[in-house]
């Protein structure tokens, strides 16, 4: 699992490059939340596999840079406790703990989770009220807030050019802006065999296919497939969260079904839903279906069912 942490290093580096010290602080806080909770409930032994660190890092990467640190800490603690430890620890959980932590934060503090910073005056300045006291709301002047590419498209009908989407110089959560670096990390993990390449491939394929079809029907109303692929949290979600070994299907065919379902849900939520972004809910919903996908796509055991094929 530590190699997943290593492959996240460039993504973390990019988020610090784009969002300054705020990014580092938020990542430290969310990791501290996840690790302290795992240490407190499951003991030091549980920390050695590195999965708590991954949960903390992935959660931090889905948060906006200006979020108060106590919220990031709380999200890490909640995701670890309710997403993983109540099920019995690593390997037992139904939902991705990092996404569960984020879903909790999104439901508990909807405003703080959708306040995106505008471009900062200098690299060193904080991108929001990170140091709000625990339980207190952050004080953010309106002039400092910006929008994500998806929000701009959905609510103001404004596109974002492809170059800045690829490099990541757009507004958004810490780790969801730089698509290229995430793809490189994913390729490294796929080559090492740490993730099943079928899942991201099927997510990308189904998003591109559906978005492309809709774009062909009405290019004015529906954004093109490349914009859909590189905006929002799709890259991070597809490469690092949907591929979580514990919460994804076992068989190859199951992975294709799982990924296609996530992609379809993402397009549906983004285009017809009330929210600008739907990657988190898509992955969580498909996580819930994994046991059924596993059952349906179970391969035939060698040497069984011979009678039925003979007759």
């Amino acid at each position: 699992m530590w190699s997943v942490v290593a492959s996240l290093a460039p993504v973390v580096g990019a988020s610090i490059w784009f969002f300054g010290p705020s990014a580092l602080l938020v990542l430290i806080a969310s990791c501290a939340g996840a690790i302290c909770t795992e240490r407190g409930i499951a003991g030091t032994r549980a920390l050695r596999d590195g999965s708590g660190t991954i949960t903390g890092l992935l959660l931090g990467l889905t948060l906006p840079p200006g979020i108060p640190l106590w919220m990031a800490f709380l999200g890490g603690a909640f995701g670890m406790a309710f997403g993983k430890l109540v099920f019995g620890g690593l390997g037992q959980n139904v939902f991705n703990p990092a996404l569960l932590g984020r879903a909790f934060l999104q439901a508990a503090f909807p405003v703080a989770l959708t306040t995106w910073p505008a471009s900062a005056s200098s690299w060193w300045s904080l991108r929001g009220d990170n140091f709000a006291l625990p339980l207190m709301s952050p004080q953010v002047p309106d002039a400092l807030t910006g929008a994500t590419p998806l929000g701009l498209f959905k609510f103001e009908g404004q596109g974002t050019d492809l170059g800045s989407l690829l490099v990541g110089s757009t507004g958004g959560s810490l780790g969801e802006t730089c698509g290229l670096i995430i793809l490189l990390g994913g390729a490294y993990l796929a080559l090492r065999g740490h993730l099943n390449w079928r899942i991201p491939a099927s997510i990308f394929a189904s998003v591109a296919l559906l978005a492309g079809l809709l774009h062909l029907i009405d290019a004015e109303q529906y954004p093109g497939p490349v914009f859909m692929l590189f905006s929002g949290g799709l890259m991070l979600g597809a490469v690092y969260m949907a591929t979580d070994m514990v919460t994804s299907p076992v068989s190859g065919l199951g992975c294709w079904v799982f990924g296609a379902g996530i992609g379809a849900l993402v397009v549906i939520i983004r285009i017809w839903g009330g929210l600008p972004e739907g990657v988190m809910y898509s992955i969580l919903l498909m996580n819930a279906l994994v046991p059924f996908i596993n059952r349906v796509t179970q391969p035939r055991v060698f040497g069984t069912n011979l009678g039925s094929s003979a007759s």
């Binding site: 508990a108 503090f109 909807p110 207190m136």
Partner: protein, 217 residues
């Protein structure tokens, strides 16, 4: 009959050992639905207490007259009568709370806790133990609802009984006011109670072992 059992025992068992919400898992619908603030939880607890005590007394008094075949129907009619009284009283005394609780006051009729106590206890015991049982159960129910309501109100609104605790800068945890918050809080409390029970059972087992060893030695 069991009426020889001390009445005191019937009274306190509902508070903790057989707490309707945390141990028996009865009456969970109101426990989840109306506990988004402490005052709503207490109002629900009070209304349930009135209905449970009243119908337990009446059912226990009429228990020799009720034919076995139609006992459930009779219980429901008795309960519904008291619910109607509670509904109108609450509407007259506290219209704001009544509006907040909405349909859940009328739904006390189908609260499984109340019907369960009629069937399991009031219809088989005389008035005194039936009264003690009903009081204990409804106090335990109110206590559980209050605990849920207080936790959810403190985190979800930063206040208790409408009094602000953390000042105007408090960031409310919106989820705690919503249904998921009810499920999360109830799950946590159930876990705490189960852990506590297990802990105590283990301690008493250990104590029994120790005394056994001492005797053997």
């Amino acid at each position: 009959m069991a009426s020889e059992q001390p009445t005191y025992e019937e009274l306190i068992k509902g508070l903790w050992r057989e707490n309707p919400v945390f141990i028996q898992l009865l009456g969970l619908c109101p426990a989840l639905a109306v506990t988004n603030s402490a005052i709503n939880a207490l109002a629900m607890g009070a209304a349930t207490t009135f209905v449970l005590v009243g119908s337990s007394l009446l059912v226990s008094s009429l228990r020799s007259l009720i034919p076995k075949q139609v006992r459930i129907t009779t219980f429901i009619i008795v309960i519904a009568t008291f619910v109607t009284v509670a509904d109108f009283t609450l509407q007259a005394l506290a219209p704001v709370v009544h509006k907040e609780l909405g349909a859940f006051i009328a739904l006390i009729v189908v609260n499984c806790l109340i019907l369960g106590r009629q069937e399991a206890f009031a219809s088989r015991h005389s008035q005194r133990p039936a009264l003690a049982d009903a009081l204990g159960m409804s106090l335990g129910f109110s206590f559980a609802l209050f605990l849920l309501g207080a936790i959810r109100e403190i985190l979800g609104s930063g206040s208790l009984f409408g009094v602000s605790l953390f000042g105007p800068d408090f960031e409310p945890w919106v989820i705690m006011i919503l249904p998921p918050g009810g499920f999360i809080t109830l799950g946590l409390l159930l876990g705490v109670f189960a852990w506590f029970k297990e802990h105590r059972e283990r301690a008493s087992q250990q104590a029994a072992l120790d005394t056994g060893e001492r005797r053997a030695a």
